[in-house]
Amino acid sequence: MAIITPHRQLGREGTDMENIAGNPNAPLYGIAAEVSSASALYHAAEQVRDAGYRRWDVYSPFPIHGMDQAMGLRKSWLSALVFLGGVAGLATAVILQFYPSSIEYPLIVAGKPTNFFTVPAFFPVMFELTVLISAFTATFGMIILNGLPRWHYPIFSWDRFKKVTNDGFFLAIEAKDPLFNQESTRVLLEKIGARHITLIHDDD
């Protein structure tokens, strides 16, 4: 990559057509770049983290082990949601079974009592509903926490980014980041050896 000069022009009329994606007249989303491998992405993430950026992400075809630490991310709190889901499932099963069986329609089978002391016979349904609601919470909680479903995302307008689901490793720093500066961010990306540094604009 060439040395950056402050007056460098970026845009469709510029020298390097590849360096911009999206609608150039729309607001800037951020700067994205590609690195060569999973380990390069890991080390790049450590440097971006140490530079103090907040609104950025690394993109890879598969989850990279240890990347959360390299990015300085904390553990996902999806597990807390799932715990609540499990409690809701268990409560549903308790009400669903004991209201009819003990209050509404006590059904005496083989002379067994219908009160709470026969609770082991109610365990299977409690277990199943706990698992069921927890699993729904895990899947849909993950989708919602990830901001999905969504049809489009600014970085999708960069053609090269299609490689991310094949063998490409990318990172993108958003313009909304307080430290974001078109030039200094670009210099940082160059320093960590990223290639194909590209300005990503929104589409409209």
Partner: protein
């Protein structure tokens, strides 16, 4: 040099060479020599790249539909239609069109139900239990095995629904308030079964779909037509592979695996409660839950191999589903088959030791009564034939593996037939004893479910990635973030860790 060797499939000779070199050369330090000694065979052979994996798996859905697919699809759809017609005949006439009689009130219908639901268990074992056990070889077989789970549960679900006779009253099973003011007996294993099987199916769908999202994004990004882009785009939900997404994704996957593990053990346990909580001799045993679960995994792995070996051969996926994978699955078949054999012996022991005359008769009648041929077929197929897998050569050749798997498939159906029919046909009162003979409706309904199963599987092969693309990439050596760093020892088998 060391890097180069880490990628090659280490044959036995190469391993010894490596050990020899490690001991004899001063260049290698002690830690890397130790690492070499416990090096494992690579999970993806021939040093394939990430894009090769994407291409190879995705192209199964992208290339023109091969002729063999249409031929097989036509056959399986025809079989499925036969099953459908038999079901229509059954529903419009009554369960009397099956060969049921008074002592044998459950026969093929419930046999088929337990057979199919058991097959599903291997898929969940591979996707959940092996995931928690960090068995990374599961990555290239879990997608197809999970699909198999879903399709097997679909086939299984047919039988309990239609065996009630008046199918339009099946909703009585659901605990909903009605103007009749009648509620279900929540302490009945049959009701537990409704909850267990429907939960199992739903959670399996969620687990399967969660695993599919990143791969659907791969198909979306490769799509060349508008239609593919649209449908795979919808399926991928806008997945973009950011680590902030992977973080939640991995947590969700871990939780789903953690939930599915006790779930899969509970499902076949609850199925076995249908029998074990009754007082019928031959059913009323406490060994049933673990015995049923082991048998389910056993039969399921055989079915996974039965459908994966042809699929692997047709699509040329030998670098992803290697002989090592087949070898490991054979070992699981050997283990669970031996557990099942142990359970068969223990049932006999307890019948003798328990001193209950009816129980003793039920077991002697199983082995020597009019259904002796079913019992000994079961013993041969389930206990004796898998013993072939003690030999490494047998585990590494496709033909013996396939033959044993066909035996196991047969044997596991016979196991359920033996448990259900031989226990019922001679109950407490000799005056009510009766033999069971299947009718053509019994036979064709069951045969037809293979059509339903295989049709669904063929559709899956054609439109969805049959191997989990992103997980296979993650077990490549270059997926390790410390790959190429000098202090790391990626050779300790597991790639990513």
């Amino acid at each position: 040099m060391a890097e180069d060797m880490a990628h090659r499939p280490p044959t036995r000779r190469r391993r010894t060479e490596l050990n020899f070199m490690a001991e004899g050369t001063a260049v290698m330090d002690a830690s890397s020599a130790a690492a070499k000694r416990i090096e494992r065979a690579p999970l993806v052979t021939n040093n394939r790249s990430m894009s090769w994996i994407s291409d190879r798996v995705a192209s199964c859905t992208e290339q023109r539909c091969p002729r063999w697919w249409w031929i097989m699809f036509t056959c399986t759809v025809s079989l499925a239609v036969v099953s459908g017609l038999c079901l229509i005949y059954l529903i419009s006439t009554g369960v009397g069109v099956w060969g049921l009689n008074n002592p044998v009130n459950w026969a093929w219908g419930i046999t088929n139900f337990v057979f199919w639901i058991g097959i599903g268990h291997a898929g969940t074992l591979i996707s959940a239990i092996l995931f928690l056990a960090r068995q990374k070889w599961r990555t290239s077989i879990n997608r197809a095995a999970e699909a198999m789970t879903l399709f097997a549960v679909v086939c299984a679900g047919i039988f309990p629904v239609v065996h009630v006779g008046r199918v339009w009253m099946v909703w009585y099973l659901a605990p909903v308030p009605t103007n009749m003011g009648i509620w279900q007996n929540f302490r009945s294993p049959l009701l537990w079964d409704v909850f267990a099987v429907s939960t199992y199916f739903t959670v399996s769908v969620l687990f399967w779909y969660t695993g599919l999202i990143p791969d659907l994004a791969t198909l979306r990004d490769r799509a060349t037509t508008k239609i593919r882009k649209f449908f795979y785009g919808i399926g991928a939900l806008g997945w973009r592979g950011g680590n902030r997404q992977w973080k939640h994704y991995e947590m969700a996957y871990l939780i789903l695996a953690g939930l599915s593990t006790p779930l899969v053990l509970s499902v076949h346990s609850v199925v076995s409660f249908d029998f074990a909580t009754s007082i019928v001799p031959g059913w009323h045993t406490t060994i049933f839950p673990p015995y049923f679960v082991a048998g389910a995994i056993f039969g399921g792995f055989a079915m996974v191999l039965t459908i994966m070996l042809p699929a692997r051969a047709i699509f040329g996926l030998h670098d992803l589903i290697t002989d090592d994978h087949v070898d490991k699955m054979c070992k699981i078949i050997l283990l669970t088959g031996s557990m099942v054999g142990y359970a068969y012996m223990m049932e006999f022991f307890i019948a003798w030791y328990g001193g209950n005359l009816f129980e003793q008769y039920a077991f002697i009648n199983r082995a020597t009564g009019p259904y002796w041929w079913a019992y000994w077929s079961m013993i041969f197929c389930n206990v004796i034939s898998p013993q072939l897998f003690w030999f490494r050569r047998m585990r590494r050749h496709v033909l013996p593996v396939f033959i044993v798997c066909m035996f196991v498939n047969t044997g596991m159906w016979f196991e359920r037939f033996v448990i259900i029919v031989t226990s019922l046909h001679r109950d407490f009162l000799p005056s009510s004893w009766n033999m069971f003979y299947p009718t053509w409706v019994d036979i064709w309904t069951f045969t037809g479910t293979f059509g339903i199963f295989l049709t669904l599987f063929l559709v899956f092969l054609r439109w969805l990635p049959m191997i989990c693309i992103f997980e296979v990439k993650a077990v490549l050596p270059e997926a390790d973030p410390h790959h190429g760093d000098h202090h790391a020892t990626p050779a300790i088998g597991e790639g990513g860790h």
